[in-house]
């Protein structure tokens, strides 16, 4: 009985947390499109850092997905 209650609680907790999530529609990206919402505020600096990183690590960078921006085009 106690075990099933615990499993139910385990199941309910992530759902409760997920209820705070909301998908941002393309026309709602007003605030996200602001320059200060970008992961990297200085794009030139970010490109330089990424270049150094993958030159040293001999790997490809994984940046660029998600985050701020208007998501246009």
């Amino acid at each position: 009985m106690l075990r099933s209650a615990a499993s139910l609680l385990l199941l309910a907790l992530p759902l409760l947390a997920a209820s705070g999530c909301a998908a941002v529609k393309p026309w709602e990206r007003d605030v996200l499109a602001r320059p200060d919402m970008a992961w990297e505020p200085d794009s030139l600096e970010a490109k330089r850092n990424t270049h150094i990183h993958y030159s040293k690590e001999a790997s490809l960078p994984g940046g660029g997905a998600g985050g701020g921006g208007c998501g246009c085009n």
Binding site: W27, R34, N73
Partner: protein, 175 residues
Amino acid sequence: MLGRRFRSRRCAAALAISIRLLFGGAASAADAGQLAPEFKAPALDGGKAISLAAYRGKVVYLDFWASWCPPCLTSLPLLEKLRKEFPSDQFQILAVNVDQDVEKARKFLERTQVGYPSATDPNGRIPESYGIETMPTSFLIDRSGVIRYVHHGFRKGDVAPLRERIKQLVSVRKK
């Protein structure tokens, strides 16, 4: 053993349904061949309310734009030029601005003046009904109100193929 397996399956199903309810329910996108959803919205310049029905009988290019969307801003002056290439009783451009801060859109239109009307929809009711998936998105609608082409994004090179599509639709007379 069997009972436990049944219970865990039931839990998994409940979890899947809950996740679907939480994140699902997106509107399906309006596509070519479908009737363009009707709308009536206030004009951005404070003028008479704009409705799609008022443009029935003309070929309409319905453009969703926002002041925070760089390709939208590229498109506006180019669309204005394109509009002037066709007679106004045959072809019209109708824009829907989705800025939540309407003042930003007004300021942009003061700088970049266009001769076609722009509706304002800060709550996103119209893009929701069209199921917009990216910004900007435009719909080329024929004289009968049927969507003939959906254009996603905007680049300068898009104008030439767009002009051809408009020419083709304008040449078709309403039955």
